[in-house]
Assembly symmetry: C2
Homo-oligomer: 359 residues x 2
């Protein structure tokens, strides 16, 4: 369904050479140097493709119209009272996104990122021209007792995710942030983490945006029950990504997976946010391992399972600010670092051009 | 000489109340929440003062024309061959700053920060209208054998630093980043760290921008000799900040101290960069402990002693990207986080205004 091209590394030595000739000691810009290399490889590969395979030196990194896609969906498991808020809050927060009042709105404005909000399947729909309507249903099933969604819904969700990305690619965007909203979705992400990595569920569950000890114990117990149920049901297919999504995902997660794959297919940059978005990144990567190369891991969430996800993906995030909000906030905050990496790659003098003694 | 006002915390509960009423779980924005509180306290205290002591609620945080002050100075100790580059590179890099080709230029442009370069005392002067000339001499003395500078030079340097800040305050700036350039200045910063905190010098020395094992051993040996010499010479005055500066500082460090104190005096925000700038921050704070409240610690440098400095100042930096370049690069990269903190404080909806069920 997706054609994820292997990243073209034929110019890698040249790009590293460019970085090492900048007027700074080698490696002195730390993670930004690796980020610049990745940006040059990804966006350079794309240009190479457009020039019918003829490779030219990667001279500059052009960041075009970054966009933040915020997918919202509700979760049947929220009925079990394992979140700090009821499912109605998903709808309220989507309204807040549309009115420009949420944290993600502030950070997108402050960092010059366009934002689109998608109803991937919230419980209580909203009539609003600014909301992209591609609902897969009014919330998922409660995955403690049954599959969260059908495999048809998974396939449809992947398509919906792809569609929204392709629209922005036609408009010229080449950097995509991913955010989400969905009461209950840390439960979904924890189960996805456990099923894909075979970690005990206890290591994968966290407090979401801040539940108390009692709710945390209940959440852990329910997720143990849920993962055992689906493990038995699916037997040797338990870790297959389509089955994992059908069993545990949210509509917003499935659409994010499809959207991330579409970004990778078009050789653009994926900005991965926190716990939920990284669950989607794991699934995308399990389906097509090549898409890992297109992903920038933006922040480390305070949710404990997120570290396991990042380790699984061999990812070192750019930011670690103790945040646990989702919405794409960590990805939005990392956007200036992406621009800074492009900026030094494009505009910093070399030892030769500046007449500085090479070190 | 400086009048550093104690931070007015009378509105602190109100500010925290504002933050907690935003449409997010309490604490979900992690370090950005503490940053917003600090910004509101500092810039709010200032407004309160302007209204003849009558306190009004801190409604918004206004960031005005952030400026990056990059102080350059040379170090006599560089003659001992303990850096990856000779002192001439200081001059070459200052030229690079003036031509816009260094990393700090790229990051200031990319993050919308004005930049001023100051000759605080480089070895080989530069005639250039864009360079602020306030040289204290052509490099310091080699502090292995004598004081780096006289106490008169220290006093003059503090004044020079103050002067450059006051100009920008008159132009409306209220956020100041601090950067530096000076071959040899990690040696100076390591000695300052050791003398102020009484840490053994071995714990304070690092590899700067990347010296090899042999140079590192020589650097450690020389700094041990230097700190023992000045300890004996100064006896019970060894940790006094003016003596520490005279013994070990660079001209760029002394001017940064004066500049930071002037920012605190005017109740504005100090963005502290890496190892060298934090040495200046420690000295400023040792002179006037109240100025700690005005400091935002922007990044953790890869230089090992920097962690000790941050610990000494009870500071948790915003970024940790494995950088070791100086120039103010870490501070420039943190500026978007400062803007993001102001942005959510100013523009994010409250539970009430957005009609979201409070969590």
């Amino acid at each position: 369904m997706y054609k994820i091209k292997k990243l073209d590394r034929s110019q890698q030595d040249q790009i590293i050479g460019n970085i090492d000739q900048k007027t700074k000691p080698q490696g002195a810009l730390g993670q930004l140097e690796g980020l610049a290399l990745q940006l040059a490889l990804v966006l350079g590969s794309k240009n190479a493709g457009e020039q019918q395979g003829r490779l030219t030196q990667v001279e500059s990194i052009q960041i075009e119209q970054p966009v933040m896609l915020v997918f919202a969906g509700d979760h049947g498991i929220a009925a079990e009272n394992i979140s700090i808020a009821p499912s109605e809050v998903t709808q309220q927060m989507v309204m807040n996104f549309l009115q420009g009042g949420a944290a993600i709105n502030c950070f997108c404005r402050s960092n010059d990122i366009n934002m689109e909000v998608i109803d991937a399947g919230i419980l209580l729909p909203i009539e609003n021209a600014r909301l992209t309507q591609q609902s897969l249903g009014h919330g998922t099933n409660n995955f403690v007792r049954e599959a969260a969604m059908s495999k048809q819904q998974v396939e449809q969700g992947l398509q919906f995710g792809k569609k929204v990305v392709e629209k922005h690619i036609q408009n010229g965007s080449n950097v995509f942030g991913f955010g989400e909203m969905g009461i209950g979705n840390t439960s979904s992400a924890a189960a996805i983490l456990s099923s894909i990595t075979h970690q005990p569920i206890e290591n994968c569950v966290g407090r979401g945006t801040g539940i108390d000890d009692e709710a945390f114990a209940r959440k852990t117990r329910l997720l143990k029950q849920a993962t055992e149920f689906h493990k038995q049901r699916l037997a040797e297919h338990y870790s297959e990504p389509i089955e994992v999504m059908s069993a545990f995902a949210g509509f917003e997660i499935v659409q994010m997976v499809g959207a991330m794959l579409a970004v990778a297919e078009n050789q653009n940059i994926i900005l991965v946010d926190g716990f939920i978005a990284t669950a989607a990144a794991m699934l995308a990567n399990k389906l097509y391992p090549g898409c890992r190369d297109y992903m920038v891991f933006c922040h480390q969430s305070d949710e404990q399972g997120h570290q396991l996800m990042l380790k699984h993906l061999s990812a070192q995030p750019l930011l670690n600010l103790g945040m646990r909000l989702g919405e794409g906030t960590g990805a939005a905050l990392a956007m200036p670092l992406v621009r800074a990496a492009a900026s030094f790659y494009n505009d910093m003098a070399s030892f030769e051009s500046a007449g500085v003694t090479a070190v």
